[in-house]
Amino acid sequence: MDASLIVFNLLNPPVLFFFLGLLAVTLKSDLEIPSPLPKFFSLYLLMAIGFRGGVELSHGGLNRRMALLLLAAVLMALLVPLYSFFVLKRRMPLPDAAAIAATYGSVSAVTFITATSFLQRLGIEYGGHLVAAMALMESPAIIVGVLLFRWFAKDNGNGDFSWRELFRDAFLNGSVFLIMGSFAIGALTGDTGWKAMRPFADDIFKGILAFFLLDMGLVAARRLGDLRRAGGFLTAFALLVPITNALIGILLSYLIGLPKGDALMLTVLCASASYIAVPAAMRLAIPEANPSLYVPMALAITFPFNIIAGLPFYLYLINILWS
């Protein structure tokens, strides 16, 4: 594998700002991005990426290959939590197994966004329907995780639980809703909308991403300590499961016959783990699960792995297979 692709990926300001965040915590600098700015950056990124995806979709309708891609995406979002759960169940309490399974079945919008900037710098295109794929992959794993938990848990007769609320938390939580809504607005307003919103949604995008990744670096580094308690098994899980999912993603992309850009994006979605939508939903639906396990796994291991080594590695594999 070409080391230059890794270096090329690293020399992207947003990625470097992620490292700067890690470094700040390591050196005990008091740098911090005060609340609620990270929340704003994340809303901005979701809005911008959703809007852009919608605009791109408005350029051409859905074809068969796209439909297959979306199908594959949903399939992965259902299967990954399933197999993960059974792997995890043997080593840890049920609630944690279910929550971690959901975490890895769902996706990370910021990993997706970092991948778009990686592709853009390489001049490789990807389709707007990938944003739809991302939106579709956010929620199913949450439902699967909770279903599995309640199936296997003995005292699942908790009076306080409501499936209705769970579905709402899964499909209508703020981040999923904003991405889908912006997608729809982008699709409706098309190029005219894009022209109006572009300076906001595109030009300053990289800068806001850099700021957001700086904060992700800070948070990830702070959470690293939690992982020591989590132990080697979960650390290994947080590295190997993404790779496995990425390999399946590459295989599916190959079978569907996706172009390289779409293939990488689908792969990255499969490989990524959620630290926004899933933790909030799990906290409400399976409060017994320990967020000090599933949050740092996704945030402090899988996310950095994907944006640092994963992106160039997955593209390398795709380059080989597609040639």
Binding site: S35, P38, D160, A280, P287
Partner: protein
């Protein structure tokens, strides 16, 4: 001034809407909420990072007559049991205006 009980509740921000709904159901006359507080307890450090939204607490104050305390406490207890947190009850004087 009349004697009153002050109930302070600290719990997971995610449960706040449900908790307030319950307080309104049992008919408390009022409450005050500080939406973002951080803290440490049995469930470890909850330092309030924005990214995940799961490590934040809210702080709720309810001033109510002594006879309503047990109602509030019973409404709150199941939430504290499941999601963690603290509930303190103390004496105060309410300034009548």
């Amino acid at each position: 001034m009349k004697p009153i009980k002050k109930i302070e509740i600290i719990t997971d921000s995610l449960e706040l809407p449900k908790l307030l709904a319950r307080l309104e159901t049992i008919g408390v006359a009022g409450y005050t909420v500080i939406r973002e507080v951080t803290g440490m307890g049995e469930r470890g450090l909850r330092a309030g990072d924005e990214l995940t939204g799961v490590f934040k607490n809210s702080y709720i104050i309810v001033a109510c007559p002594e006879e309503e305390v047990s109602g509030v406490v019973e409404a709150v207890r199941p939430i504290l049991k499941r999601f963690g947190g603290v509930c303190l009850v103390s004496d105060a004087q309410w300034v009548i205006h």
